[in-house]
C-alpha cells in the first residue's frame, strides 16, 4: 500500500471523470486514489464501475464537505499517512503533489496547493472574495494564507483523522482559520490550476455572496468560540 491517498469527490462529472482518473492511474502509480461519487444524477458512478475505479458510491448527495469526509474516513480506516483533496473537473494537476509532499515532510500539518505564493492575485471580482477571506484570516490568526479557497489541500495523518471524525470540519477557509488559531502548522506551495474544461462552476453570483457572507461571519465571529477537542490534538510533535 502507498502512503498517500488522492481523494476525488465527484458530483455529476461524467464528462471529465475518465480523463482525470486515468491520468492519475497511468502517470502517477506511486499514489493511491479513491473516487467519491456524491450521489450524482448522471452516469458518473456507472462510468467508474465500468472502468473498475476505486469508488465510494454515496447513495444520496451530501455536498462537497460530506463527500470529502467520506474519503477521509476511508483514508483513516485504511491507515494512510497523507490525504489530498483533488477536483474531478480537472482543475488540479497531479504533478504538484510531489512538491507539496516534500513541503509537508518539513513538519507541516496542512499544505495548500496555492495559486498565489509567487504569482500575484489578479484583480477580478472572484479574487476580491479571496482577498476578503485572506484578510479575515489574517485578522483573527495573524497568519497569511494567500489562497484560502484553493481546493487542493494536503493533510497529514493527524489532520486527516481530525477532519474525518469531527463535526464542523468542512474543507473550507473557516476550518483553516480555526486550525491555524489553535496552533497547527500550515504552508503553501505554488501550483498552477487549469480553468474548467467542461461543466459549470457551482458558484453563481447569489451563491458566491452567500458563501462569502457565511465564511466571513464564521471566520471573524464563530470560529473564535470553538473549543478544540483535546483528544485529537497531539501534544508532542515528532520532528
Amino acid at each position: 500500500m502507498k502512503d498517500l491517498l488522492i481523494i476525488i469527490p465527484a458530483y455529476n462529472e461524467e464528462k471529465s471523470i475518465m480523463r482525470v482518473v486515468n491520468h492519475v492511474i497511468n502517470d502517477y502509480p506511486q499514489y493511491d486514489y479513491i473516487v467519491v461519487n456524491d450521489g450524482s444524477s448522471d452516469k458518473t458512478a456507472r462510468i467508474c464501475r465500468k472502468c473498475g475505479y476505486n469508488l465510494i458510491d454515496l447513495p444520496v448527495n451530501l455536498g462537497l464537505a460530506g463527500a470529502f469526509q467520506a474519503g477521509l474516513k476511508y483514508a483513516y480506516r485504511n491507515g494512510y499517512e497523507y490525504a489530498i483533496q483533488y477536483d474531478a473537473d480537472g482543475q488540479h494537476k497531479v504533478e504538484y503533489i510531489g512538491r507539496m509532499l516534500d513541503e509537508m515532510k518539513k513538519g507541516y500539518d496542512i499544505v495548500i496547493g496555492s495559486r498565489f505564493v509567487t504569482e500575484k492575485k489578479p484583480k477580478s471580482l472572484r479574487m476580491l472574495g479571496s482577498r476578503i477571506l485572506s484578510a479575515s484570516i489574517k485578522l483573527t490568526t495573524g497568519k497569511r494564507v494567500n489562497d484560502p479557497t484553493s481546493g487542493m489541500r494536503l493533510l497529514n495523518r493527524n489532520m486527516l483523522k481530525e477532519f474525518a471524525l469531527n463535526l464542523n470540519y468542512g474543507p473550507e477557509p473557516d476550518t483553516i482559520s480555526y486550525l491555524l488559531k489553535s496552533g497547527i502548522k500550515l504552508s503553501e506551495v505554488q501550483v498552477e490550476m487549469d480553468e474548467r474544461l467542461e461543466g459549470e462552476s457551482y458558484l453563481n453570483m447569489a451563491r458566491s455572496m452567500k458563501y462569502m457572507f457565511h465564511m466571513v461571519v464564521s471566520i471573524i465571529v464563530i470560529q473564535n468560540f470553538r473549543k478544540r477537542d483535546s483528544k485529537y490534538v497531539k501534544t508532542e510533535r515528532t520532528e
Binding site: 447513495p59 444520496v60 463535526l167 464542523n168 473557516d174 457565511h214 464564521s218 464563530i222 468560540f225 470553538r226
Partner: protein, 124 residues
C-alpha cells in the same frame, strides 16, 4: 416608543440567546451553518434593544402606531420564513433517510442472495 423594561427584556433575551448558541458551537453540538441564523437573530435583537430608534422609525415607515407591535410583527415574519425553510429541510432529510435505508436494505438483500448461491454451489 418602547418602555425601559421591554428594552431590558430584549437586551437580556438577545444576550442569553447569543451565549447559549456560542456555547453549543463551542462544544461542537451544532453545525456552523445552522447556527448562523441564530447568531444573526440574536444580533438583530441586540441592535433593536440598544437602538430602539430604528424600530420607531421602521414602525412609522410601515404605518404601525406602536413600536412594540412592529417588533412583534417583524419577528413573527422572520420566524415564519424560518419555519418554512425548516419544513423544506426536514422534508429533504426524510427523503434522504428513506433513500439511504432502501439502499442499505437492497445492498444487504443482494449480498444475502450471493451468499445463498455460494452455499448452494458448495453443497452441490
Amino acid at each position: 416608543m418602547m418602555t425601559g423594561v421591554f428594552r431590558v427584556v430584549l437586551l437580556l433575551a438577545s444576550i442569553g440567546t447569543m451565549l447559549f448558541m456560542l456555547k453549543r458551537i463551542r462544544h461542537a453540538k451544532i453545525q456552523i451553518e445552522d447556527s448562523l441564523f441564530w447568531i444573526l437573530f440574536s444580533a438583530l435583537l441586540l441592535i433593536l434593544s440598544v437602538f430602539p430608534g430604528i424600530a420607531d422609525f421602521m414602525a412609522g415607515v410601515v404605518g404601525i402606531y406602536s413600536t412594540v407591535n412592529f417588533i412583534f410583527l417583524f419577528f413573527i415574519f422572520i420566524l415564519l420564513i424560518r419555519e418554512f425553510s425548516l419544513t423544506i429541510k426536514v422534508s429533504q432529510l426524510e427523503n434522504k433517510l428513506k433513500e439511504l435505508t432502501q439502499a442499505i436494505a437492497i445492498m444487504n438483500a443482494e449480498k444475502d442472495n450471493k451468499d445463498d448461491e455460494k452455499e448452494k454451489e458448495e453443497n452441490e
